[in-house]
Amino acid sequence: MNSPGTEISELLARTALRDRAAFRTLYGRTSAKLFGVVLRILRDRSEAEEALQEVYVKIWQRADRYVAGSYSPISWLVAVARNHCLDRLRARKPLADELDAALEVADKAPDPEQSAVAGSERSRIETCLGALDADKADAVRGAYLDGYSYDELAERHSVPLNTMRTWLRRSLLKLRECLSA
């Protein structure tokens, strides 16, 4: 009941009750983290400030949608911030060239759905990324932490776009197998 996660969870619940003081406290506790997220992905301070506002507007409006236990509350908040930034990035991009969703990816035996044991996610994802080639793990991190698109990843790794797609899709399959192993 006294872990920081529980406290944020309670502040979220209070926010859903339209408790403005709780919302302000929630902002105080979490805004540095979420600003770190939007700043890193949007890479522009004034845009990040605007996006942060929009993120907290969403949190205010949607606090009741946080389902305790399914996700740590701070991860949920980070996901709201991250997805908001990605929506912004997608909206400002011209319609990207058509993605061939039918790229061949080897289909291994289906894994049973397994949820991760709470708290073990960090080591699990780190371990599984560690099992990939370093540059491929780097590309996955870049997509998650920096919001890089396939175009940007291809440029950063100096490979053609389609090569990057094939790489990353294969890496994701490997990663997925490892994550539920």
Partner: protein, 240 residues
């Protein structure tokens, strides 16, 4: 060419697609298409949940950076000031919200089943004006309710699914509409069914999206009309 069926078959193809979706690598059209599939296919929702919870293990790498104070000022002016409220972009993360709400859907289904067992309504159009809310337990509390609102009678029927009474405390039910503060609907028993008749003002507030919350209060409920105790359960009304 691999086949792209309408239903997920748990294939590696779908797992990779959901992974790309979670990472944000799909372009706008693909992303939108995937969001619709995820909303429709529980297997993909579970897959998305797995990716997101696993990837969130990287969240520690986002370095904290305090935003300038003006952000909070502008935010509060925007939300609580007199300026017009911004509602655009509300549905941007539809898939996320849906995946998070997925847990509630099962309980709602139970409620519908429960409702069917009640004496049949005289007027079949009543079905169109019923709302259900799965009031799910908050972390650390095992209290869950299903609320069923019948607009024809203005009555909320409440069934406790789990939880127990606590000595010298009472559970209090609240509704929250839009940005207005929570309004008490009174103290509720946790271990038996109860019915609450809403006054006309409350009836006018009950609509899809109205939030119901249960707090743990001193005996007899909060004396101030404002919730004081912890929020033990929360849910949103949806039409059935």
């Amino acid at each position: 060419m691999s086949t792209q069926g309408h239903e997920s078959d748990g294939s590696g193809e779908d797992k990779v697609l959901v992974g790309e979706y979670a990472l944000g690598l799909l372009d706008a059209a693909e992303h939108e298409r995937m969001a619709r599939r995820i909303a429709a296919e529980p297997a993909l929702r579970a897959e998305l949940q797995l990716w997101r919870s696993q990837l969130s293990g990287l969240d520690a790498e986002f370095r904290e950076e305090p935003p300038p104070p003006r952000v909070l000022e502008q935010l509060e002016a925007r939300l609580f000031g007199t300026a017009a409220r911004h509602r655009s972009g509300l549905w941007d993360s539809l898939a996320l919200w849906r995946s998070l709400a997925a847990g509630g859907i099962a309980v709602a289904a139970v409620a519908v089943g429960f409702n069917v067992m009640q004496p049949p309504p005289i007027d079949p159009t009543q079905f169109a004006t019923q709302l259900v809310a799965a009031i799910k337990a908050q972390e650390g509390f095992g209290v869950e309710f299903v609320a069923l609102y019948n607009a024809a009678t203005g009555e909320v029927r409440l069934t406790g699914l789990s939880g127990q009474a606590i000595p010298d405390k009472d559970y209090e039910l609240w509704y929250i509409k839009g940005d207005e503060p929570a309004v008490s609907m009174g103290v509720i028993p946790v271990d038996q069914r109860s019915e609450i008749e809403l006054d006309p003002q409350a009836r006018s507030k009950f609509a899809p999206g109205t939030v119901l919350a249960v707090t743990l209060e001193q005996k007899g409920g909060s004396p101030t009309g404002v919730a004081q105790g912890p929020v033990v359960a929360l849910g949103t009304a949806t039409p059935i």
